[in-house]
């Protein structure tokens, strides 16, 4: 159940322009419309992609939301968050 809602939120933040704008304006308010607990909200706000994957979120969504919404949007930072030193990524945004 937890994964389902998290994936819905991350898909919205990866694809949907309206959701992206609302998240940028007020992330807590945007997340408040979903049935998320405090840990869910923390994972999303802190871009904790490692933990999100551990609870079952599809890595394509953690990558997509990172590219679209994270502060630096760099895949090297994403890899470090996952605990990887890889300099390569499958990002479609370069």
């Amino acid at each position: 159940m937890k994964r389902d809602v998290l994936e819905r939120v991350l898909w919205s933040l990866s694809i949907d322009r309206f959701s992206k704008e609302k998240f940028k304006e007020n992330p807590e308010k945007f997340l408040g419309r979903f049935p998320l607990d405090a840990e869910d909200v923390r994972m999303i706000l802190e871009f904790d992609v490692k933990k999100l994957q551990e609870v079952g979120v599809n890595p394509m969504l953690t990558m997509g939301y990172w590219i679209e919404m994270s502060p630096d949007r760099q895949m090297s930072s994403y890899n470090k968050k996952l605990g990887s030193e890889s300099e390569y990524s499958a990002s479609i945004k370069g």
Binding site: Q53, Y88, G94
Partner: protein
Amino acid sequence: MAQIVGGFLVPHDPVMFVAGDAAPADKAEKVWGAFETCAQRLADSGATTVIIVGNDHYMLFGTTCLPKYCIATGHLEGPLDQLPGLKRGQIENNEALATAIAEHGAENGFDWSVARSFTTDHSFSIPHQLIVRRAEELSGRSIAAIPVYLASAVDPYITTERSRELGAQMNAAIEAFAGDDKVAVIGSGGISHWVGTKESGKVNEAFDRRVIDSCCSLDMDGLASLSNEEILEEGGNGAMEIRNFLCAMAAVNPVSTDLVEYQPVPEWVTGLGFIELKVA
């Protein structure tokens, strides 16, 4: 009646477009050259329609509906995920054949999801631009394209066996289609690659060779017998795309194959294989 004239198994690696210079020049040249070889062979085949079997990357289909298999029967444009050198545009579909495949399926135990107006992603649009559009340039004739999307990247995955069965149903539908279309089928997918995970950049050449050997020897049983766990462990989440290969192989029902190229390219995060499926 429509005729199947062949097919190809090729990658759809977006990193080639966004970080083209990252790969060693000799490898890059071979990969781009392999696409050109496939385009020339498609042009020579006389194909008038190409079916491209790809998969969503959790962009097109959201959490509200995740089809196991989907065919676009109407208006077509793409890709959603534009890349440098790969811009969105309108695409000519073969609506009559696509509809016939879906209707044939409904009568034979395959309940296709259909997209009446569809936007592709890069899994369709990379081979479409580099092979189909290029074959149009080389041949001087128009080639329509039909997208088939399998659940190969987002679970619940279509099973390998169902992918193969679906390809066989496509084969039967094409051969029963009352048109003079000459049809080729492209299976679009990388071999080993890890997308968005901490292993990203790893390429397992041994696994890639195993998949290529199965494809080239037309060992669909061997390919279909790979478990999800085995694929995920040895080839990564991206390698689940070998379902697209299985479907295309069954759709073409080839008598022989030709390995056009294989390059393991960690810089492009993928084992990249190119195989021609020959019907004569």
